[in-house]
């Protein structure tokens, strides 16, 4: 995609300054095309990390929009700024010391109770998460619901920036998921068994022996092993 005149160029305003960029670029690539060498406001470029939280309005529309710059497309007559950092409170805790995980959520984040039910967080979330609903779930003591509703959170902080009740939703949800992951499921029996085997040295000699084999000896074992298949069952390693 060359910077030629054959492309449809669209006007965008980056922090108030007009630039023309090719149509079809993400906001991030549009900023780079305009000459910004990003340091803050850029991260994985894949929608995982939440570094590129962006706020914008489009001319003719009174509404404020939120997006990840690496995901959303630049639009004609868009006025934007990035929000690469926003002050947010994170409660600290020791997971090992927590006796009542659901109650602890409220102790750690009492401001959850101030939720006004205004829906601003939901409208802000670039992942389309039900933020207000997971806040409600935490207030009800339903950590499973809170963990599952918040699972796709990239912690960009836009919900927190918009919250009139000054809740740090994404940090509260971080606690909910950890508490859920740590306490909700029974311990996996198969892993317990394997850990016990390892502690007893069950695999020490067999693996140690492999480290002393020649490449040809390893190859012979490698090609003769059986392979589990996606649908279950086993197949030969070769052929």
């Amino acid at each position: 995609m060359a910077q030629g005149t054959d492309l449809n160029m669209i006007p965008i305003y980056i922090m108030g300054k007009l630039h023309y960029v090719p149509e079809g670029l993400t906001i991030m690539r549009a900023m780079e095309h305009a000459g910004y060498r990003l340091v803050r406001g850029v991260g994985c470029r894949g929608g995982f990390c939440g570094a590129c939280a962006t706020v914008y309005r489009v001319e003719g529309d009174h509404r404020l929009h939120m997006a990840l710059a690496c995901q959303a497309l630049a639009l004609p007559n868009m006025h934007l700024t990035q929000l690469p950092y926003f002050p947010a409170r994170k409660a600290t805790y020791d997971l090992e010391e927590i006796s009542d995980p659901a109650m602890a959520a409220i102790d750690l984040y009492p401001e959850l109770a101030n939720c006004l039910g205004c829906n601003s967080c939901n409208k802000a979330c670039p992942q389309d998460l039900k933020v207000m609903e997971y806040v409600a779930a935490m207030l009800r003591g339903d950590l499973r619901e809170a963990a599952e509703l918040s699972f796709d959170c990239v912690m960009c902080g836009l919900c927190t920036a918009r919250c009139p009740a000054e809740i740090t939703q994404y940090q509260a949800a971080m606690y909910a998921r950890r508490a859920f992951g740590r306490f909700a499921s029974p311990r996996p029996v198969h892993l317990e068994d394997r850990l016990k085997e390892l502690a007893e040295g069950r695999w020490d000699q067999e693996v140690e022996r492999l480290t002393h084999l020649t490449t040809d000896e390893l190859k012979a074992l490698y090609v003769s092993r059986d392979m589990e298949t996606p649908t279950g069952g086993f197949a030969k390693a070769v052929g």
Binding site: G35, R177, R194
Partner: protein
């Protein structure tokens, strides 16, 4: 695209009934030598300075080695120490965060310095999951065999031994930290396959596996008060007068100042190389993956291993244009999706190792002319994702691959109903700073490495699932060893003589190109998207 799509749908019932044979070792070797980018002689050149002089490496990385420091050693006052710690951890991804937590647990005063924000890393972007032999029908023995075979038997045995024996322990550590792995109601950990893994041993957290682990580790670092310095990349290591690593010079992006960190030991966990766009490939990697750690360790005298072995993930998105090079997790193939050419035919067993699968796609597209042309004029092959729901029941894609589904949907592609177009994308650096023992030691005393920046664990080709386990296993080992060793180290005079010496070697080799390194950040203001900087 349309006629080919109809062929793919027509052949699907038959394909779903038939098994595709796996290659013999001889067939695989021939395929790699003919089609893998590592074997393109014009993509590589000889390294002319430093400990690996005479080895071959891709031009893009050689450029980073054949460059002067960003700093003039004569302008840096090493007496003015900004931070004085026991263990300096460089890099705030999964490996660095783990090393910092464990070093602190062992009583060390720790500083974690990172180039961007804490957590900004390839760890965050890992979709598939973490390999560990946790199930009864699996074993560390098989995990060892798979990893060695996948690495073409060039892995260091003692490192693979540590990897597979620690893997279940690391899994337990992550569970106790509250990582939300995919589970059955009875607590059983759900596993899938990856290419070359002979058992279902990839433990996932939907297709946000790495993000989930990273945000838990970052949260734990904050809970435990691990000091973190963000937006402060290391631009050189500091070596003391005895030749031991003793800290680093950091550059503060925010204040444009250099900071001196004195440390008794250093753990380097700076990750990979993808943003150098080796051989012009797009990459799945993070913005910060610019080989910084490799460059500064090399100047400090560390030997590198297998820096000519680059991993291309078989299934980067080839369409839509905005997602070019985007990772489409191996778990899609692990749960049954076929690779299909323009004629609707399979051409490789989808669960061959990544080097072989990528080579087969390159052969199909670039040499046999059986790729599918995208509207933008690129070529790829089909990844038949609708098969996943057909095999595993309606809703499986939504349950396991919600992130990917969302992204494609935003461009009007419903991967539950239509296949994706894919082509290999640069994904991983198989080699790195040579690890000389299973605690992450290097050839430079008091310098440790963990994760992708280290070389030796993965041989010349890493298996899916083996990088997340690598960063935690060796993050823990390096963190512990660095903390224990720090107690033995007596501080000595700090120097940057190794930088002066490196500059002298560059001059002697006639390398006077004006380049400086490490790169720190790619520049996409001048390089336009279609010429490499694709996502």
């Amino acid at each position: 695209m349309r006629p080919s799509l109809r062929l793919l749908e027509a052949t699907r019932p038959q394909r779903m009934r038939e098994a595709f044979p796996r290659m013999s070792p001889e067939e695989k070797t021939a395929l790699l030598e003919a089609f893998h980018p590592d074997f393109r002689a014009d993509g590589m050149r000889e390294i002319r300075v430093g400990p690996n002089r005479g080895d071959h490496t891709p031009h893009e990385f050689a450029d980073q080695l054949e460059a002067r420091s960003r700093i003039d050693p004569d302008q840096i006052d090493l007496e003015r120490i900004d931070h004085d710690v026991d263990v300096l951890v460089i890099g705030g991804g999964g490996g660095g965060s783990t090393a910092a937590l464990i070093a602190q647990e062992h009583g060390a005063r720790v500083l974690l310095a990172t180039k961007l924000r804490h957590g900004d890393s390839n760890t965050t972007m890992a979709e598939g999951g973490i390999a560990a032999a946790s199930h009864r029908h699996d074993s560390p023995y098989l995990h060892y065999l798979d990893t060695m075979g996948g690495g073409r038997y060039m892995n260091k045995p003692e490192l693979v031994q540590a990897l597979v024996m620690d893997a279940p322990i690391v899994l337990d550590w992550l569970l106790r930290l509250g990582v939300m792995f995919d589970r059955e109601p009875d607590g059983t950990l759900i596993c899938s396959l990856a290419g070359g893994q002979s058992r279902k041993r990839i433990h996932s957290a939907k297709d946000y596996s790495g993000l989930e682990m990273m945000r838990v580790l970052r949260d734990e670092c904050r809970n435990r008060g691990v000091p973190v310095l963000e937006f402060s990349p290391a631009v050189e290591l500091i070596v003391d007068e005895r030749g031991c690593c003793a800290g680093a010079v950091l550059y503060s992006f925010d204040t444009s100042r250099y900071l001196i960190v004195r440390a008794r030991t250093v753990v380097l966990a700076t990750g990979g190389i993808g943003r150098l766009h080796i051989q012009g490939f797009p990459t799945t990697n993070h913005y910060g993956a610019t080989a910084d750690g490799l460059v500064i360790a090399y100047r400090a005298g560390a030997r590198l291993l297998y820096m000519d072995a680059i991993q291309y993930h078989p299934t980067g998105a080839a369409w839509p244009e905005q997602m070019l090079g985007w990772l489409c997790t191996e778990a899609l193939r692990g749960t049954g999706a076929h690779l299909v050419n323009v004629e609707g035919k399979r051409f490789i067993n989808e669960l061959e190792t990544r080097d072989a699968t990528s080579s087969a796609i390159i052969r199909e597209v670039d040499h046999r002319g059986k790729g599918v042309r995208t509207p933008a004029g690129n070529h790829g092959v089909w990844l038949d994702t609708p098969m996943i729901d057909m095999l595993g029941g309606e809703g499986k894609i939504h349950r396991l691959f919600a992130g990917l589904e969302r992204r494609f949907k935003s461009y009007g592609i419903d991967m539950t109903r239509e296949p994706l177009l894919v082509y290999p994308t640069q994904h991983y650096q198989n080699g790195g700073v040579e690890m000389v023992d299973a605690e992450g030691r290097t050839t430079v005393p008091n310098l440790f490495v963990a994760g992708e920046v280290g070389g030796g664990v993965q041989g010349r080709n890493r298996l899916g699932g083996n990088s997340l386990v690598d960063i935690f296993v060796f993050g823990r080992r390096a963190g512990r060893a660095a903390a224990l060793q720090a107690k033995e180290v007596e501080p000595a005079r700090l120097t940057l003589d190794h930088v002066r010496e490196y500059h002298r070697h560059l001059s002697e080799a006639g390398i006077l190109n004006g380049r400086v390194s490490p790169l720190l950040l790619p520049d996409y203001t001048t390089v336009q998207p279609a010429s490499g900087a694709r996502s």
